[in-house]
């Protein structure tokens, strides 16, 4: 462990209900306060008790994008974890286990088995969760870190349960820490400090906070993994922040209630996952036709259908592209991580207010539920708020045209309740004053003019958003193309490839609609070997990019087993593609969870 590059992964495995997430959260907090970057990925199942959960917590003095490729310290909370994951441990790593209940297996020479007699260390405490406290203390002992910070967290964490529980946990923490210092090999190098304490959030929280900062006053949802964290955060903070939150009977009700609130004047957001989004689709078109600004978040999970509810995938692209009948303006954007999720929301609200249309944010389980550290000084809690051509003043004269035909396609929007601005919005086709042209006398010229008015909005918005850029040296051996949440893992893979003498650059796409087809074509025309990396089966983004640019790529790296890419999966893929001209490389996930 060299001081120059402190970068380790601590892994906690056990059954649901054994408290796998808690040690993860505590470790994240401890290291974030120390100023170290971390990312935590929890591989779990759709079960409340039982099954197998594996939390990988990676901490580094450098920026961390993924949970990495290796395990340094494995905490086994049950025998199953020992059996499943001991084979991933390499010489010089640590395996911590409760020797009262877990038998170690066969491992490589040089793996440090850290036998932890929890009963003895805890004075025969019968609470099954006490081993978690002991394990964290043992990790701190191995790393030669001070115990005090953890003691403070223990006190705060167990305060509600009474002094006896606090004392029992403090007791076992001190005993396990001492036991680790006395018996286990410890880190040779000192664990560094970062520049300042860091914050912790996941992509869902970041979206929720982005919404609050953007001035969202109405949020509604139906619970659906992995989007539910957004609902939880907003519900928890709603009173303090003056946000109305409604849990609605289904996602059809969610999006239509959101449309009502948005039309009446609130900045409004709703979130779901793929299945819920499927129910919302008719509403997306309704917002498009009535020209109502709305932000909808689709936190993707492994599909199709119910799929694998707790696992990640980039599988909803064509669902959102094709959402709702007809042809209408809407925006689709895929943030890369938690900070990008936060920044995307206020920016998107300004755009949908200006262009009066729905927009869809494509997040996924990986970034939505992964815990990221962030620099609080880089978070703008007071982003610019621009509501566009919104009329909030009454008029002395009547004759307001809600759908006035303009060059920009944007018709100034009046809120209900104002004198002199009365109008009806409708999902039927309408003329400038809102009167329907769908029923009695359909009028082809009026219809054409209204269609063109709406669609002109897409011309304006494309000029406002940032086009994609090629990161890295122009003349690289390989160009890796990705979108949304694969940004981080591609970034790390490129660093590893560089260590092996392969130069790669990175074309990352955030904006799906509008799509900067000309910019992308131009970049691709100057690349050598092009490879698209996607977390789905059939290359959904590749098909979309081809439809927008007419260009194809040389090869593909795809993964659709539910687990996210690890950097080495992409490295292996690039190497194989370069050696064997493989068309599509699909890595095999080594860690069975």
């Amino acid at each position: 462990m060299s001081l120059a590059k402190f970068d380790i992964a601590i892994v906690v495995g056990g059954a649901a209900g054994q408290g796998v997430a808690t040690p993860g959260n505590i470790l994240t907090k401890l290291f974030a306060r120390r100023g170290l970057n971390s990312y935590a990925y929890n591989a779990f199942q759709s079960i409340i008790r039982g099954g197998h959960c594996l939390l990988t917590f990676r901490v580094s003095e450098q920026e961390v994008f993924t949970h990495g490729d290796k395990f340094d310290i494995l905490i086994t909370l049950n025998q199953d974890t020992m059996n499943r994951h001991l084979k991933h441990m390499r010489p010089g790593t640590w395996v911590i286990y409760n020797s009262d209940s877990i038998t170690p297996g066969e491992a490589d020479d040089g793996v440090h088995f850290c036998k932890m007699p929890v009963k003895e260390l805890s004075n025969n405490n019968r609470n099954k969760l006490i081993q978690n406290t002991a394990a964290i203390a043992a990790v701190l002992g191995i790393m030669n870190l001070e115990l005090e910070a953890f003691e403070e967290i223990v006190k705060a964490q167990f305060k509600r349960k009474g002094q006896e529980v606090v004392d029992a946990n403090l007791g076992v923490a001190r005993a396990a820490y001492q036991h680790a210092q006395d018996n286990y090999p410890s880190f040779e190098a000192e664990v560094p400090f970062g520049a300042k304490p860091l914050g912790i959030w996941n992509g869902n929280t970041a979206i929720a906070i982005g919404a609050a900062a953007a001035g969202v006053k109405f949020y509604c949802a139906y619970p659906m993994s992995p989007s539910t964290g957004i609902l939880h955060w907003i519900a928890q903070n709603a009173r303090e922040l003056g946000i109305m939150v409604r849990q609605v009977e289904d996602e059809i009700g969610v999006i239509t209630m959101a449309i009502g609130a948005a039309h009446a004047g609130c900045r409004t957001m709703c979130a779901t996952s793929g299945g819920g989004f499927a129910l919302m689709t008719e509403g997306v078109g309704a917002a498009g036709m009535m020209e109502i600004p709305l932000v909808i978040v689709d936190v993707q999970r492994s599909g199709p259908s119910t799929g694998v509810p707790t696992k990640t995938e980039q599988g909803d692209l064509w669902q959102v592209l094709g959402a709702s009948q007809g042809d209408f303006p809407r925006f689709i954007v895929a943030p890369r991580d938690a900070v990008d999720s936060f920044n995307t929301i206020p920016m998107l609200f300004n755009l949908v207010d200006k262009y009066q249309c729905p927009s869809i944010v494509l997040s996924d389980q990986l970034i939505a539920e992964g815990n990221f550290t962030f620099d609080p000084d880089e978070i703008d809690m007071h982003p610019n708020i621009d509501r566009g051509e919104l009329i909030t003043e009454p008029s002395e004269t009547n004759g307001y045209m809600r759908y006035k035909i303009t060059e920009s396609g944007i018709s100034p929007r009046a809120l209900p309740g104002l004198e002199g601005r009365i109008h009806v919005v409708s999902t039927d086709e309408h003329q400038e004053d809102g009167v329907l042209i769908s029923d009695e006398y359909t009028h082809p010229h009026k219809r054409q003019a209204m269609m063109e008015k709406r669609q002109r909005k897409m011309i304006g918005v494309e000029k406002e958003i940032e086009p994609p850029k090629l990161e890295g040296p122009e003349d690289s051996n390989v160009t890796l193309i990705g979108w949304g949440s694969t940004y981080g893992v591609i970034h790390e893979a490129i660093e590893q490839l560089s260590d092996e003498g392969i130069t790669a650059n990175h074309l990352h796409i955030k904006w799906i609609v509008p799509f900067h087809g000309e910019v992308v074509s131009d970049i691709l025309s100057r690349c050598n070997k092009t490879i698209i990396v996607e977390n789905n089966y059939s290359g959904l983004f590749h098909r979309y990019m081809r439809s927008e640019t007419g260009l194809t790529v040389d090869s593909h790296i795809r993964k659709y087993d539910g687990e996210p890419f690890m950097p080495h999966h992409i490295v292996d893929g690039v190497k194989e593609i370069l050696e064997k001209e493989t068309e599509t490389f699909v890595p095999v996930h080594e860690i069975i969870v």
Binding site: I200, V248, E249, A262, G417
Partner: protein, 307 residues
């Protein structure tokens, strides 16, 4: 409504000795309903009720779904939303919560409200949001040229049930009562006088108010005609019905033979509306017009919780 009337109304702080006429609520276009359609009766009754309550058109929002009756907002002078089939109630709920100072009236048909929108109907009643829901119930799908509806009687022959309907109809009154609606009534479009009074009570009621209105379809329903109801309707008021007695209300609502009751079945004035229970609306006026973004304290507190 004339500009003078608006001015007067504003100057009297809304308490208007201003004369409003039903004509002030006439929309930009005339209805394209079939001549004789019951929906005309409801449109007239709502216009009259609103004029008598002196509600400014600019402070009203009328929300509908899809169907013949859902064309209503276009024929009515007020803010309007003509939305998706079956989604009238969640849209109306969202709008009402975003601006609770608006008088929100939801309108639609039996297919829209009790069929495709059935789930929303139950949950909107349960939420007791302060909106008035007027269902023009003609027991048939008219705009799609005559198919069975959730309120069609057993044996009723339609294009989709050519040998007669075999599934019993929904009872909107008992359904609404069981779901927790706090104002449940039934009206009849040929009885304008009583309908106007019911609508006024429904608008003034603080909570979810349903009026299921018999609104005969003259083109596709030759059974449940104006004449059919004229011969059968009996006023609950004439029967000394107590609208606080939900069991009696259900019993009366189940009667469907030579006598069919109309009037106010149930009213619960005790239960608070959703807006009154929602702490976020306690002060600060409509959400839609509040300042956006976080203040310094809120921003600091949010950040602190993540450290």
């Amino acid at each position: 409504m004339t500009e003078i009337a608006v001015k007067l109304k504003k100057e009297t702080n809304g308490k208007a000795s201003v004369k409003l006429s039903p004509k002030d609520y006439k929309g930009k276009v005339d209805p394209d309903w079939c001549p004789g359609c019951g929906d005309f009766g409801l449109l007239n009754a709502v216009q009259k009720a609103c004029s008598e309550l002196a509600i400014l058109p600019s402070e009203m929002l009328v929300v509908s779904g899809i169907g013949c009756s859902s064309n209503f907002p276009g024929y009515f002078n007020a803010y309007g939303m003509h939305t998706l089939h079956g989604r009238t109630l969640p849209v109306a709920t969202g709008a009402k919560l975003a601006n609770h100072e608006l008088t929100v009236i939801a309108v639609g048909g039996d297919g829209d409200g009790y069929g495709i929108g059935g789930n929303h109907f139950l949950h909107t009643a349960r939420r007791n949001v302060n909106i008035t829901y007027l269902v023009m119930n003609n027991q048939i799908y008219g705009l799609t040229t005559g198919q069975v509806s959730p309120t069609s009687s057993i044996g009723f022959k339609t294009k989709s049930t050519p040998h007669g309907n075999i599934i019993p109809p929904i009872n909107p009154i008992t359904l609404a009562i069981m779901a927790g609606a706090t104002f449940v009534a039934r009206g009849f479009t040929s009885d304008g006088k009583n309908l106007v009074e019911l609508i006024k009570q429904a608008i003034l009621h603080k909570g979810f108010a349903l009026i299921d209105v018999f609104s005969p379809c003259v083109t596709y329903n030759k059974v449940n005609t104006h004449e059919f109801f004229k011969q059968r309707t009996v006023y609950l008021e004439d029967e000394d019905h107590d609208p606080t007695d939900w069991k009696a209300a259900c019993e009366k609502a189940m009667v469907w033979d030579d006598e069919i009751y109309i009037g106010l079945f149930l009213q619960n004035r005790e239960r608070k509306s959703l807006e009154d229970l929602e702490p976020v609306l306690e002060e600060g006026g409509p959400l839609a017009f509040r300042p956006l973004g976080l203040n310094e304290d809120q921003a600091a507190s949010v950040l602190k919780n993540m450290m």
